[in-house]
């Protein structure tokens, strides 16, 4: 499952989660999980102001995106000057946990 910018969505991808109307309080669904994306549907979503969708698998590499392992390495690198600070260590853990979660999804998909 991957959260992608709508501009990178392409026909043939499958929604992993229902898309909701962005403007209504009631969170009305526009189309449900499992829907296959089409050119027309993507265009409609764009017109309705949807900016991102959750799709099955990991179909695209977003510009600059690395594998989760490489992302974790990059995270360590960004925190290199503050890796002694207890608060910053905790902050880094939050990001790391997130990446590990993404990594599990990524590999589950490969299997």
């Amino acid at each position: 499952m991957q959260n992608i910018p709508l501009i990178l969505a392409a026909p043939g991808m499958t929604l992993a989660k229902a898309v909701m109307r962005p403007d209504s309080e009631s969170r009305m669904p526009i189309c449900g999980a499992g829907t296959a994306l089409t050119e027309l549907l993507i265009e409609r979503l764009d017109q309705m102001g949807i900016a991102s969708v959750l799709v099955e698998g990991h179909p695209v590499l977003i510009e600059g995106e690395k594998t989760p392992e490489a992302e974790i390495k990059a995270l360590d690198h960004r925190f290199r000057q503050v890796c002694e600070d207890p608060l910053m260590i905790r902050l880094k853990e939050i990001y790391k946990d997130r990446l590990i979660r993404l990594s599990e999804e990524w590999h589950a998909n490969e299997a």
Partner: protein, 287 residues
């Protein structure tokens, strides 16, 4: 003899306008040509760009209109200036010649910080969310000034950062004797922006110096750091700064809430990325 600081301060007082991203201006131009474009849609698009937001806020706070230093959000500026004035102002904006990678990176970083500030203020139930995200959106405007008005120095700063373990802020201080936060604050003063925007901009790296609007400054401080931690956009270096203890205490967040905030920001950043890719492609004309 004039010190480097004084020289830069004087230069900032002469800054009349700064270039915007061509993609945004193209989009706004298309909007401006359709009469149906509502105030909210125009406000939302302008609020995604630090330069255009600053430009609109500069005009509405100028002594000419007679309420200097009072307006701190783009939507209020639009109500007071009128849609036509704002459209004309945007259309007359000068733009960057090319979409340089670093320019787009800084734009993404700024917009990301604005989005983060909005999420944090909602979680903390602070009033004036729109004002605080505006301050976060504008927090690095000093970097644009350095890039545009001090080209040769900007290059020296870049070389220093690329050369080693120096943050852009430290490099700025070495080269200019002043950092982008302070320069941004000077610009805010020159442009008669409200103090509640100036203080968070000027103190976002050193929030203890913020006296009157310490809450807002703490939010902007954290927003900047979270966006850098996330690796979203590029603000001139790849070093996550330390969260200042006083600011952390001021915000009084638990680790649990921080985790939820980070998750919410990360999801929202995908949407920001979508917008960014859209802006870049509308510039290249492929759409």
């Amino acid at each position: 003899m004039q010190t480097k600081r004084e020289e830069i301060n004087r230069m900032v007082q002469d800054v009349k306008s700064l270039p915007a991203l061509p993609g945004i201006v193209v989009k706004l131009r298309a909007l401006a040509e359709s009469d149906a474009a509502s105030l909210q849609i125009i406000a939302r698009l302008i609020s995604s760009d630090q330069i255009l937001s600053a430009k609109v806020l500069k005009l509405v706070n100028s002594p000419f209109y007679g309420f200097p230093g009072r307006v701190s959000t783009v939507s209020n500026a639009l109500i007071l200036l009128g849609v036509n004035v704002v459209k004309a102002l945007v259309l007359s904006s000068s733009i960057f010649d090319l979409m340089e990678e670093n320019v787009v990176g800084l734009w993404e970083h700024s917009l990301g910080a604005g989005v983060a500030a909005n999420i944090i203020t909602k979680r903390l139930a602070l009033p004036d969310g729109e004002e605080i995200s505006t301050a976060a959106l504008l927090h690095d405007i000093g970097k644009v000034i350095i890039k545009i008005k001090l080209k040769e120095e900007a290059e020296r700063i870049r070389l220093k950062v690329d050369g080693g373990e120096v943050s852009i802020r430290e490099a700025e201080k070495e080269v200019l004797d002043v950092d982008h936060a302070e320069i941004g604050g000077w610009l805010g003063k020159t442009w008669c922006l409200p103090e509640k925007l100036i203080e968070p901009i000027a103190c976002h790296h050193d929030p203890v110096r913020s006296v009157t609007y310490a809450d807002r400054t703490a939010v902007v401080h954290l927003s900047d750091i979270l966006i850098k931690a996330s690796g979203f956009g590029y603000s001139g270096d790849d070093l996550v700064p330390r969260i200042q203890e006083a600011a952390w205490k001021k915000l009084n967040l638990s680790d649990h809430v921080l985790r939820e905030i980070v998750d919410e920001i990360e999801d929202k950043l995908i949407e920001v990325k979508n917008f960014s890719l859209e802006i870049q492609s509308s510039h290249e004309g492929k759409v």
